[in-house]
Amino acid sequence: MSNMELVKMIDLSRCTACRGCQVACKQWNELPASKTKNWGSYQNPADLEWNTWTLIRFQEYVDAKGRFKWLFRKDGCMHCTDAACVKVCPTQALYHTEFGTVAFDPERCIGCKDCIPACPFNIPRFNEQTKKIGKCDLCLSRLRANKPPACVLSCPTGALSIGPKAEMIEKAYKRAKALGEGASVYGDKFVGGTHVIYVLPEPVSAYPGLPENPSVPLPIILWKDVLKPASVIAGGGVLAAAFLHYILHGPKRPVEDTQEGGSEI
């Protein structure tokens, strides 16, 4: 598995919401549990946290034919190829790995939070105590040891699997085809292709928090791809122009008005 682009496939049609992946994630990554309150849902904690990198979201849903369904979605970092978080991170604390995944180096994180609004999937979470963000790194330490991520290893139903990119995308499409009736593959077509892809048995709109057409936000592109180079060109251009002005036109010196004022010193 080492040194090749990997994709983790989440087949939601096979997820039973056992939440083994949530526990395995905490165990491998040594993330403490949060004290939570019952808020009327099995979804616990209620949202992703700095110490909860993956979360099964529970959703009650009535499909087009009026059938009631209980949907489960494993939420977490999608590991974008064109990752907005990597684009904005000032310290390279967020970076692409040899597997194409987006890893996180807490030593480098300065808690600027730039990645939080940049992420089209609303993934990074801030830890007020350590002043650092937290998010899934797809168990980089395990991938480098040629082992599957903890969540994949823990999954009892085969909803989670990981493998070479092309192979996994093919597998996902095959599975979506087999499911038929509105099932789709989510992830390979945007932000350069994500390294986590879903097989969705229901339309994208059935899953709250899952954007229909995610992209690097326009203001982030303007900031990093347009204004950042423009600022250097503008500043450098003015400096160059000032230098040329000085050597070609010359400075504007005061006209000494000695005639009117007399010549005595």
Binding site: A118, P219, I220, S231, G237, E256, T258, G262
Partner: protein, 216 residues
């Protein structure tokens, strides 16, 4: 007795100079720390601050110094530098005589039209920086798409102020010799004032604030 050309005229007061330098130095610190965060290669600047975390904190708190200075500077200089007057249009179309050798440059008042443009750019984009920076700092309290656009606005404000900064730096130092002392000691020579702010000099002479010693 010195010649009239070498006569010294006070053009700024101490408070103006204090506000100017508070704005300028906080701006330079913000430039350096901002650039260090914008370019990974310039992360190296953080060796001066004991790491990027401290550099980021310095950026944020310098922003407060900048904001306070700006809020003092705007009302202080608005009447003199915030409003255009007769002759400013011609001054701009002649590019202040800095480019080409236009002989039809109207005499400037206390601030020439270029200085006014710079002041207004600092006011408008400085306020943009303060607003966007605040939203970025306290982002959890604001709407997501607003926060995203504030990052773009922050980058736009930087681009404009960064370019204007070098224009100002050049023209206030080697580009127009004799200018820097106006913001260092507050004093310029009579000749400098006559060359660069002739209209203002006439006003000062008319109101008797400056006594010329042409007739002794």
């Amino acid at each position: 007795m010195k010649t009239q050309g070498a006569q010294i005229v006070t053009v700024t007061n101490g408070f103006e100079r204090l506000v100017h330098w508070s704005l300028a130095l906080s701006c330079i610190v913000l430039f350096l720390t901002g650039l260090a965060m914008m370019f990974h290669t310039l992360n190296a600047l953080s060796m001066l601050t004991g790491g990027m975390y401290n550099l980021k904190q310095i950026h944020n708190y310098s922003g407060i110094v900048f904001a306070v200075s700006l809020f003092i500077a705007i009302p202080m200089w608005w009447a003199e530098a915030g409003r255009f007057e007769e002759g400013d249009r011609q001054w701009i179309s002649a590019l202040g005589g800095y480019i080409g050798h236009s002989k039809h440059v109207p005499e400037a008042g206390k601030y020439n039209a270029g200085q006014k443009l710079f002041f207004l750019a600092v006011v408008v984009f400085g306020l943009c920086m303060v607003v966007s920076g605040t939203v970025m700092w306290l982002q959890a309290k604001f709407d997501l798409s607003l926060v995203r656009w504030m990052y773009a606005l922050h980058a736009l404000g930087f681009t404009v102020i960064f370019a204007f900064f070098f224009v100002h730096l050049y023209l206030a130092t080697i580009g127009v010799p004799g200018s820097a002392s106006a913001m260092l000691t507050g004093k310029t020579t009579y000749a400098w004032l006559k060359t660069n702010h002739g209209k203002w000099l006439k006003e000062l002479e008319k109101t008797g604030l400056i006594k010329t010693n042409t007739k002794k």
